[in-house]
Amino acid sequence: MLTLYHWEPNANSGKPMLALAEKGVEYQSHYLDLLNFDQHKPEYLKINPDGTIPALVHDGKILTESTPMMEYIDETFDGPPLRPTDPKERWRMRWWMRFFDSYFAPSLSMIGWSVFVGPAVRNRDRAELEAAIERIPLESRRIAWRKAMFNQFSEAELAESRRRGAFGTAALEQHLTAHPWIAGNTFSLADINGFNLGYALPLSQPDRCNDEKTPHIMEWLRKIYERPATKATWAKGRTQMASRVTLLQRKS
C-alpha cells in the first residue's frame, strides 16, 4: 500500500510525484490544499505531526522529508534507476540537491510566498488567519505563514532572496554548461529536484533566465518537460501554478 500526501506538482510535493512517475509506480494520491491549510488539520497531523507536505506512507512506514524520500522511492521500486551507479555522480547528485533545497529554493520560494501564497489567502478574515497560524506545529512554519499572510517580508530580505535567485541561476547555468544533467552524464533525482524548483524560472525571472542568457538551463528544462513522466505529473495539477509548465513547450 502506497499513499502520497501532496499538493500541486511543484517544489517539495512535485519531487516524489515526479520520481514515482519516472519509476512507473502507481500510488494512492491524497491531495492537500496548501492554501486551505489542509496540511495543519488533525487528520493529517496524525500522519506528519510537523504538518509539512509531502508525506509518503508505504506499508505503514511514514516518510516526510522529500529529498531522502526520493532516494527511498528509487531504492524500493522497480523501474528505471534514478540514481547514477558511479559514486562520484551520486555525490554530485546529492550535493546539488542540498544546494537546491537549502540555498536556491528557499530564496525563490520566499518571493513566491510574497507574491502568490500571501495574496491568495490575505483577504480572508483576520481572526480565521490567526487561528490557522495557531494550528501550525513548527515555529519556523508559523513565522513563514505569518510573514506571507500579513505581507511582513522586509524589503531587505526580499532583495537578498532576489540576489540569491540570480546567483543560483548563474551557478546552475555554469554547471549545465559543463554537464548535460545535474549529476553528470545521467538523468537523476537531482534533475527531478531541480525541475521542481526551476520550471517556472523563465516566467518568474524572465530577464535572467531566457534563451539568450541561460541557454543551457532552457534546454535542460525543456528536455525534462518533454519526458512522459513530467507531462503526466503536471497534468495532475489543479491550479494555474502547475499549468505554467507549458511555457517550456518548444516552438516548432
Binding site: 516518510l63 562520484k88 551520486r90 546529492r94 550535493w95 542540498r98
Partner: protein, 261 residues
C-alpha cells in the same frame, strides 16, 4: 589514494575522519588551519561545489581528480565506496532515516553549534591577530555569504542576547535526538550508521557550548550516546589525530541558519 583535507577532529572535520577509520581506508591526511585561511590558497583543491558549499570551511575529500565537499555526503560517499564496513546498514527505510537525520542535523543543529563554538573560541582567537590584516584578508573571500560569516565572527555580532536565542532554538532539534535515542539503539535503527557519525560530530560540543540544552540531567540519552561513540575504536583513532591540546575548541563558521526565521 584518498586525500582528506581537514583541521582538528571536531565538528565537520571529525566526520570523514571517523568514517575513514571505520572502513579502514588508507588515506593521506592534509591538515590545514582554516583560521589562517589556507583553504583559500591557490594550491588548495577546488571546484564549483567546494566554492559554493553551504558548510563553507568544511573538509574536502579528494579522490583522483574529484573534489568532494559537504560532510554528510562525504560520509555517504565513503559508505558506498567501502560497502563491506556497512555504514549504511539495513533496508531502504533505514537508509531513508539515516539520510533524513543527516539533513536534519545539517539544517537544524549545525548552524547553532558552529555559532556558539565560534563565539566562545574562534572570536577570542581572532582577537589576538592583527585586525587590519585580518579584515583585509576577510574582504577578499568569495562568495559573499562566506565572507559575511567570517566578518560576523570578528565584528562582535555575537551578543549575549543573540547567543541565548541560538541556544533556545537548539532545544527543539536536540529533543528530537533525545527522543529518537529512546526508541532505537542508533539513530537510523538497530544498527550503527553514518547518521550516528554525523550526529556525534555536532552533538558532542553541546555539553560545553550549550550546557542548558545538553547535559546529564536534561538529555541523558544523548550523553550515553556520546559516551558509546567515544568507546568505538574508530572514534578514538580519529580523535587521536588532533595536533593541538584542545581539539574540542576548533570551530569555524558553518552553515547559516534558515533565512525564514
Amino acid at each position: 589514494m584518498l586525500e582528506l583535507y581537514h583541521w582538528e577532529p571536531n565538528i565537520y572535520y571529525l566526520k570523514p575522519l571517523i568514517a575513514l577509520k571505520e572502513v579502514r581506508a588508507p588515506f593521506t591526511s592534509r591538515y590545514f588551519d582554516p583560521t589562517s585561511f589556507e583553504q583559500y590558497s591557490p594550491s588548495f583543491p577546488q571546484n564549483t561545489e567546494s566554492g559554493l558549499h553551504l558548510e563553507r570551511e568544511g573538509p574536502v575529500l579528494v579522490d583522483g581528480v574529484t573534489v568532494l565537499s559537504s560532510s554528510f555526503f562525504i560520509l555517504e560517499y565513503i559508505a558506498e565506496a567501502f560497502p563491506a564496513a556497512n555504514l549504511l546498514p539495513g533496508d531502504a527505510y533505514e537508509h531513508y532515516r539515516a539520510r533524513a537525520w543527516g539533513q536534519f542535523a545539517a539544517l537544524q543543529l549545525s548552524p547553532g553549534v558552529c555559532a556558539l563554538g565560534c563565539a566562545k573560541y574562534l572570536a577570542p582567537t581572532l582577537k589576538s591577530r592583527d585586525p587590519g590584516q585580518l579584515k583585509a584578508r576577510i574582504e577578499r573571500i568569495e562568495p559573499q555569504e562566506r565572507r559575511a560569516a567570517w566578518a560576523a565572527v570578528i565584528d562582535g555580532s555575537y551578543s549575549e542576547q543573540a547567543l541565548a536565542a541560538v541556544r533556545d532554538r537548539l532545544a527543539a532539534p536536540v529533543k528530537r535526538f533525545e527522543d529518537a535515542l529512546g526508541q532505537t539503539a542508533w539513530l537510523a535503527g538497530p544498527a550503527y550508521s553514518v547518521a550516528d557519525i554525523d550526529a556525534f560530530a555536532m552533538l558532542s560540543p553541546l555539553p560545553d557550548v550549550a550546557p542548558e540544552v545538553v547535559s546529564e540531567k536534561a538529555t541523558p540519552r544523548i550523553l550515553q550516546f556520546l559516551h558509546r561513540m567515544r568507546e568505538r575504536p574508530a572514534v578514538r583513532q580519529a580523535l587521536a589525530l588532533a595536533k593541538t591540546a584542545r581539539p574540542q575548541e576548533a570551530f569555524v563558521p558553518g552553515a547559516e541558519p534558515s533565512r525564514w526565521g
